[in-house]
Subunit: 299 residues, 2 copies
């Protein structure tokens, strides 16, 4: 219970989804390690890819990710890799995500330490999202365009000199993308209506691209089985665009059409911090502090 | 981070509030102990009493409480104890409170283990609250009536045979009360009104004694400095009477008088579990599970 108050998450993506023995070697460093907790790992045979979700204190987590990465570099040969998911390297992408007591700047520094280590092993490394060194390297799909197969030519292009490691093609390992990003909350709001255009108009009202909240991506879609429509949202920064504000705007926009909220869904893991504003707003408890929660005293 | 998923709280009350050296000996067992966290301790010279708040995994917490209790039994002599707060023994009362992953039955068993240990040291022990062996021993004030000074006579009364330990007076240590109770949430709702009778009527609408919710105690009072009135509540079982339901009833009763909620206060520590229904209700996320919160995966 003498735990670091700092918690960081990492979601490394490895280009191996079929050979269970290799995957076990890659995942092993996350098991039974003091200060690290393996939350989930999913392998997909069609994608030929394995996605690990792990949280922990920064130092042990970083050590575990490095060890796992070395196992993946040894085990995976990109020359023979086929799969449906876009990929550029054996250790394809390794985001670091602040969960508790970690600033974006700290998460970026952790990603850079990881990047320097991977680069020193002879693998070209690109930084993305909050760790990006140029605007055109912010988005993963932009960096990964053309995938592994285009990498040899790409590395000869001065615009694509890697951020760490050699500017020469490593046929066995490809390249690795790493960086830091804020935790994303997948939040769906189900509406008592069957016309998708209503969900669509509400999605447009709240999403950034159409003038809505800065840290919201949203689409409208039908839930045909349930006879409902859904506004499906990604909240990309819950401190600046909090959950309750988006929900209340959806409620108010839906009311224009006489539509009410049937229910909502929070998909996957959510940092405790995302509920701080929810509790404050709905319980009207203006001075509430997270350290009043007994469990957080133990973290 | 290899923490027990079970967390229990204890709030031992010791009859020593003046001799700092003795208090340090009593509190020492809660410091620097793996699996135990000292949240708070308060000594009061007028009360001549020290109240410790400690949380942890059941086994190490129990061990720490026992060790602290032995230090208190050695250090405190009730024959010379004077103070304003009612008390019956050196280790006066030791509640165990389930915080996470612990049932009331388990908390009762932990209190009973503690009680047997204290009894074996020659101190009469009474079980109270959820650990009570008879209805008339449920409430602490009923057991403690007459205090230390009445204890010698009380122990001769067959109605007050102790639950553990000898039925003979131990002049140095008095008697100890222990048991289990649900965590209590201190919740205040401030109203934009200056007439206390409105706060009083709302308090009566929600509190158990007047026909309100089963696990609510409440009073109305004035916040003169702020020009507001307050409904001051104790929620004694948040799983059966959840915070949001009480707040929404207060909101609706206040609306009868055209009164709105200015804000609320959560006083002191609150278990994370108390917010599960708050999040579900206000975000309308019917299927939300606490294990979706990343931090709880580490507990």
């Amino acid at each position: 219970m003498s735990i670091s108050a700092k918690i960081i998450e990492s979601v490394p993506n490895f280009s191996e989804g079929r050979d269970i023995e290799k995957i076990e070697r890659i995942v092993q460093p996350f098991r039974g390690r003091e200060g690290v907790k393996l939350l989930d790992y999913q392998r997909d045979e069609d994608h030929n890819r394995c996605v690990v979700t792990v949280v922990g204190a920064p130092e042990p987590l970083k050590a575990a990710v490095l060890e796992s990465m070395e196992a993946a570099i040894a085990a995976i040969d990109m020359r023979t890799h086929k799969g449906q998911h876009p990929r550029m390297g054996a250790v394809d992408v390794v985001p670091f995500i602040p969960v508790r007591g970690i600033s974006t700047a700290e998460a970026v520094e952790i990603a850079r330490e990881f990047g320097r280590f991977v680069g020193a092993l002879g693998v070209p490394v690109y930084y993305y999202e909050d760790a990006a060194t140029r605007p055109e390297r912010t988005r993963l799909p932009d960096i990964r365009k053309g995938q592994y197969e285009a990498l040899e030519a790409k590395l000869k292009d001065p615009a694509w000199i890697p951020d760490e490691g050699p500017a020469t093609f490593n046929p066995k390992s490809g390249a690795t993308v790493t960086g830091a990003r804020f935790p994303l909350i997948a939040f769906n709001v189900n509406l008592r209506a069957t016309d998708v255009p209503i969900a669509d108009r509400i999605a447009r009202a709240v999403r950034h691209i159409n003038g809505g909240y800065r840290f919201v991506r949203a689409i409208g879609l039908a839930l045909e089985d349930q006879g409902l429509v859904q506004v499906s949202l990604n909240l990309t920064n819950y401190t600046q665009t909090p959950i309750h504000r988006v929900l209340e705007t959806i409620r108010s926009e839906a009311a224009r059409y006489g539509v009410s909220i049937a229910g909502t869904e929070l998909v996957g893991p959510v940092p405790l911090g995302a509920f701080e504003e929810v509790v404050r707003y709905y319980l009207r408890v203006h001075n509430f502090r997270m350290d009043q929660i007994i469990e957080t005293a133990l973290l």
